[in-house]
């Protein structure tokens, strides 16, 4: 009797076994999101930076901990805070010459490069100040214009110009973002790659408004991460052979449409820290109360190919 139905039983078992394999295989494939939906930067970790504090601090017998204050709350321009509870301050009046700064980057010998920022009120000089990168000399502590971008044109309808920069220890270059050309309808921001020695622009990519940028190395390569000024999202540009890919890929989105990433820090294994602000290309964002700023931990979960956001 059993022998009679054996072919049927075997065929059912074969179909079941193949079905099991096929369904599992297909499900395991769908765990990883399609690249059109999410761009995968892979596993990453915090890298050792080449950044050094300026040498003049040693001459002034400034000791760790040291922080650079660009908050504009107490000091215009920049200030070095140091000592216990950062209670000691270095802030020569000359460091107020170029008004307010948004971000800085330190190189391997302690020079600080600074991006400008319009802050609260517009003065006759404000727009011109947004066209430059500034440099605080490591040895002398002298602050001056490092480089002028004559294609940057801030105006009453968009007071921002150069807005963020990051130093690339690999090739002694700066990555710089500017958002001056953008208007309500179109995104015309520019990312520049600048050779520090020659002050030559090595690459210029148009079409993305990066409110902040930072570099990240992962198992999949080197990336320039960019917080969008227009969207509540973090994007990544792949960097291959020192060349930035033409298009930015979205890697994660924040829960609220009003939030824009203003600071990105690589905190640890697969962990980013994101600071967000409301931003609408007005001066209001910079004057917004601290309760409108959020801090997130963005953790890349390599098992399920997903970012987990935790508000801090």
């Amino acid at each position: 009797m059993l022998k009679k139905y054996l072919p049927i039983i075997i065929s059912l078992l074969v179909v079941s076994a193949v079905a099991f394999v096929v369904i599992n295989k297909k499900n395991s494939q769908t765990t990883e999101p399609k690249t059109e939906e999410k761009f995968i930067i892979g596993n990453f970790n915090k890298q050792k930076s080449c950044a050094r504090h300026p040498q003049f601090l040693k001459q002034l017998k400034v000791t760790q901990p040291i922080t650079i204050d660009l908050s504009q709350q107490q000091f215009k321009g920049l200030a070095f805070l140091w000592g216990k509870n950062f209670s000691k301050v270095i802030h020569p009046k000359a460091w107020e010459t170029y008004e307010h700064f948004s971000t800085y980057a330190l190189d391997e010998v302690g020079n600080a490069y600074l991006a400008p920022m319009p802050f609260i009120s517009i003065k006759p000089t404000t727009f011109n100040l947004q066209k430059n990168i500034y440099k605080l000399d490591s040895k002398t502590g002298k602050l001056g214009i490092f480089m002028n971008f004559d294609d940057v044109h801030p105006s009453a309808s968009n007071p921002y110009g150069i807005i963020s920069l990051v130093y690339d220890c690999d090739d002694q270059t700066l990555w710089v973002s500017a958002i001056d050309e953008s208007d309500y309808k179109s995104q015309k921001g520019v990312i520049y790659h600048v050779d520090v020695k020659s002050k030559r622009v090595l690459q210029r990519i148009e079409g993305f408004d990066a409110l902040t940028i930072t570099l990240l190395k992962s198992e999949k390569g080197k990336f320039l991460l960019a917080g969008s000024a227009r969207e509540n999202a973090l994007y990544a540009y792949a960097i291959e052979n020192k060349i930035l890919s033409k298009n930015a890929e979205k890697i994660l989105e924040l829960p609220s449409a009003q939030e824009h990433i203003r600071k990105i820090k690589v905190r640890g294994q697969n962990l980013l820290e994101l600071q967000t602000i409301p931003f609408s290309y007005t001066l209001i964002a910079q004057t917004s109360a601290s309760d409108e700023r959020n801090h997130y931990d963005a953790k890349w979960n390599k098992k399920i190919y997903k970012w987990t956001l935790t508000i801090k």
């Binding site: 009679k4 139905y5 054996l6 072919p7 049927i8 075997i10 065929s11 059912l12 074969v14 179909v15 193949v18 079905a19 096929v22 369904i23 297909k26 769908t30 059109e36 939906e37 215009k76 319009p118 802050f119 609260i120 009120s121 517009i122 009453a156 309808s157 968009n158 007071p159 953008s182 208007d183 309500y184 309808k185 509540n232 989105e253 829960p255 609220s256 449409a257 009003q258 609408s280 290309y281 007005t282 001066l283 209001i284 004057t287």
Partner: protein, 621 residues
Amino acid sequence: MSNEIKISIGILSVGLVALVAYWFMGEEGGSKSLSTHEKVEERIILPQYSAQTYRDIPEVKAYLNDLKKVIEQGQAILPLERSELDSNGVLAQDILLKDKAFLKDTMQNGKLLHNDMMRIRPAIVSVLSASSQTICKTHTCYQAEKYNYVSNTTSRAVVDIESKKVLEVTNHAGMQPDISLRLTHIAQAIALNAPEVAKELKKTPRRQDMSMANVRGALQGSPCQNSEHLCVAPTFSDHEKEEALWAIVDLTEMTLAAAKWAGLGKTTTPACISERSLQNRYIMKNFCEKDTHLEQNGWKLDYRLTGSDGLEIINVEFNGQKVLNTAKIVDWHVAYEGKGEADESGDVVMAGRQVEFVKGDEGKFFFGYNDAMGCPMFSTSVVLPFNGPLVKELYDEQKRKVGFYLTQDFRNPKWPMACNYRYENRFEFFDDGSFRVVGVNKGRGCGEEAIYRPVMRMDMAFSDKENFYKYDGFWKKWLTEQSDFQKDAKLYDQNRYLYKITNENEKKGYYIEPNRGQFHDDSRGDNATLFITKFKEGEGDKDLLTLGSCCNLEEDGVERYVSKNESIDGENIVLWYVPRIKNDARAGHEYCWADTVIDSNGNIEVRTFPCVVGPKFVPIK
């Protein structure tokens, strides 16, 4: 071949074909689905009707009546209706309405504050403290949440039903709870009865078409422009078009706050909607990015919002005759008087503005800032538009309709808190061809002794050759650029007109009637300085950044465009008019002021004491 073999082959064939089909089948299983990358065009609708429209809705009316009764009875908390409670819930509510700790934040300066009991239900472990957990293991415990509308605070209490004791009360400032069933029904009623919603849906909306997006999860922030308001978002979905109309209902104000058409994709969930960002995008798209044409009562004009010069009217005609090329309020100078030495130690920032200090006489100094009004995005303005420009009917003191006006409300987001401001730019158009450029200040400044100076710019359009006159017992023609202190004038033609502007042959023109309090708007007069300059590009024809010093009261900022040698005789001229207003915060005399009080329903009521300035232009006949 036996039948069993044939069946086996059939099973193998069908099974394998099905598996191959499954392998190659898309994830969506062939069903139509909206990709998260596919964007539905966002359309935003701002409220067009007064708050009373919504307060007349029966559910809202009944709620407000109940609230009034409760407050009159000396209670601050509107309790949950019996239908929302089981018997233990009823008991828990009775206990809590007498509990001092639970009632602690319901009174302010002797006034009861509006609170609603939102939910009472069996306690869940995750909300309990360790000590409450121990008790509630053996006792029946209920948790309750109430919301304080004035302080935007949620209080959560845990009640031990058996011992009839309140185990704990915690307050969560700035947080909002899930709302009661009654409020859910009210929010639905507002959405269903909102004329704006019906207009968008092109039909009378039905309850069954709507899903209710509550404030999801406990204690979340608000999507309203005022993040301290309690808001929810009932939704009308159109699955065929794969879009939905989100109606944001403000339960603190009992109004429709805004509505938005958006796709059904995951990126457009209510959490992503905020009234403020909706307004910003709506205003940018409709009033900053393009001009709007208006034709009414013989008047034709275009208007737009500028980057920093407020609401601007352009190409104004009356009965086919050109009247104005443009008119706008460039900015408001805000100055306060101080005594002693001015602070020159560094940058001082007050309420988001850089403060300027100017030395005065006799140990005084002046400090303040220039407030630019303009588009909410891509601009340098700090005082932002709320809703878009509105056109309203204009009545005289006998309530007769005499024309219409175009108005735009600009506010600091935190108005009426101290050092936050609210300005209205208004253009009044009368049926007889007169018009008035009006600036309204609704406070609330940083205190008394504020001096406000709106800088108005008007470019008439009679012809390229215009003449300007001042009345001084007779009409005297001005030949060169100059200024005049209207506040010092003693003589007015027909006791109304101080200036007039005409075309070259003087057949067309307008008298200028400064405001001396005669316009029945409780104004204390313009006390203005007037400047006449020859039209030049770059002198205010495009967006001007703030003009001059806020606090040098000897100058208004326009002086930089005035040259005594520049002829204006028969030239295209520009008129600048800078009223000077002193605020008043004295009780009973308030002027350019705003204050908040607790009203009879226990809610915050903002009282405004506007000051209205601006000249009227009357056609010469």
